[in-house]
Symmetry: C2
Subunit: 248 residues, 2 copies
């Protein structure tokens, strides 16, 4: 029975798992769980992942969720996966675990919170929150500095001085790809040349799948930019009203 | 050369690593890094962990940080460690990765943020923040419900239906042990009988090391309770002042 990957390409960890399966030639079926239709909360999907989140996989009778755990499982369960994705070497593997753990409370926390409050909130019926976005941007920028100064130290083009990508490169680059807006990218990624090169190296090492899986996001860019500018305008109007009323 | 564990017993992931080494009989040297003296930020320690956090280990020429990565490394690098801590079986191991990943953004986020804002803030020269504590308590309570309904499902006394503890049990129970205050424990842990039994099972499976390593925390309890009641009194005074001044 073919591996089933439950995913929404709008979700960054879903994209990491899909790209991984495609680039390593794992035979799988992609099953769309549309977050915008709240399909992840259906009782049917909760049989697969009780947390109601994507991605999740079903491999025969085995069910699994959490993208890092999935990437590790796939690397070990499918014999054809090249070693560089999740090295068998004890020390290199330990370092990859360390980066993946770090990712949760740093890069992911910064990037996901920023995107939610600066871009996605209206899609969930909430207002944009510039203050929360600004705080998240600080965590994100600090995380990018750490990637540049700690994780990208060494001669290789990838994390931990690697010459080929690991699951950590893929997971973290997919996280950063959420930054779609050109102004955001220039401001946030601009100061981090090594991070930019690393994104490019990861994209190129997983081509053409990287672009194909991200395509939905590139298409959504225009929509989010319109939403953001509508919100910015209504913010200006409301702050104008506040200024006027406070002067009354 | 003996394994070196850099730790502060006041830190929950430090305690997990120390208990693990003791209970599995790993020969190691504990090197104290006092967080209250900001020793984790010294240039000497940053040579070991550039993130300036505990725990970290040095095993010969190999350095590693992030407690989950350390627990996995130790389980694999020391041949005498019993299999139940980090099973070789592909499927059981994958499930343990899934719980450990989940821990970061759920139980840890709730517990650590709650403790910081409800108890520890004054130790870092900050004020307690009851609103942030209340929000964190919601995440913490939701995480405890998930542990009870998802992770503790099955016949065993441990996570994932296990009959013996894994590194995930140890890591997560140490996180919860931060809840020292009796009122906090009654209110937050009270509704979760299975969680209480699981804490007791983990404590008993790692006895006497669990108690010995937590001892510093039990001793700190009185100090924190005094700080908290002083803060509560000054809060009352200041809210009284606000009430009075708003009536003037």
């Amino acid at each position: 029975m073919k591996l089933k990957v439950y995913a929404d390409r709008m979700s960054q960890p879903s994209r990491a798992v899909l790209i991984f399966c495609k680039v390593t030639g794992i035979d799988f079926e992609e099953i769309k769980v549309e977050l915008s239709k709240r399909q992840q909360l259906s009782s049917e999907f909760k049989e697969i992942n009780p947390m109601g989140k994507v991605p999740a996989i079903v491999d025969g009778r085995f069910k699994l969720f959490e993208s890092h755990a999935i990437l590790i499982y796939l690397s070990c369960a499918f014999p054809g996966v090249p070693d560089h994705w999740y090295p068998a070497d004890l020390f290199r593997r330990a370092k990859i675990h360390s980066v993946l753990d770090w990712h949760h409370s740093n890069l992911r926390r910064g990037a996901a919170t920023y995107i939610l409050n600066a871009v996605l909130a209206p899609a969930f019926g909430r207002s944009l929150n510039p203050q929360a976005a600004a705080e998240a941007e600080k965590i994100l920028s600090l995380s990018l500095s750490t990637i540049e100064n700690v994780w990208l130290k060494g001669n290789g083009r990838f994390l931990l001085g690697g010459f080929k990508p690991s699951i950590a490169d893929l997971s973290m680059v997919c996280e950063i790809m959420q930054l779609l807006d050109e102004k955001d990218r220039r401001r946030i990624l601009g100061p981090h040349k090594k991070v930019q090169q690393w994104i490019e190296s990861t994209r190129s090492a997983t081509s053409p799948h990287f672009h194909e899986v991200h395509n939905i996001l590139f298409k959504a860019k225009t929509k989010f930019q319109v939403q953001r500018s509508v919100h910015a305008n209504s913010e200006t109007e409301s702050s104008l009203k506040t200024t006027i009323s406070s002067k009354m």
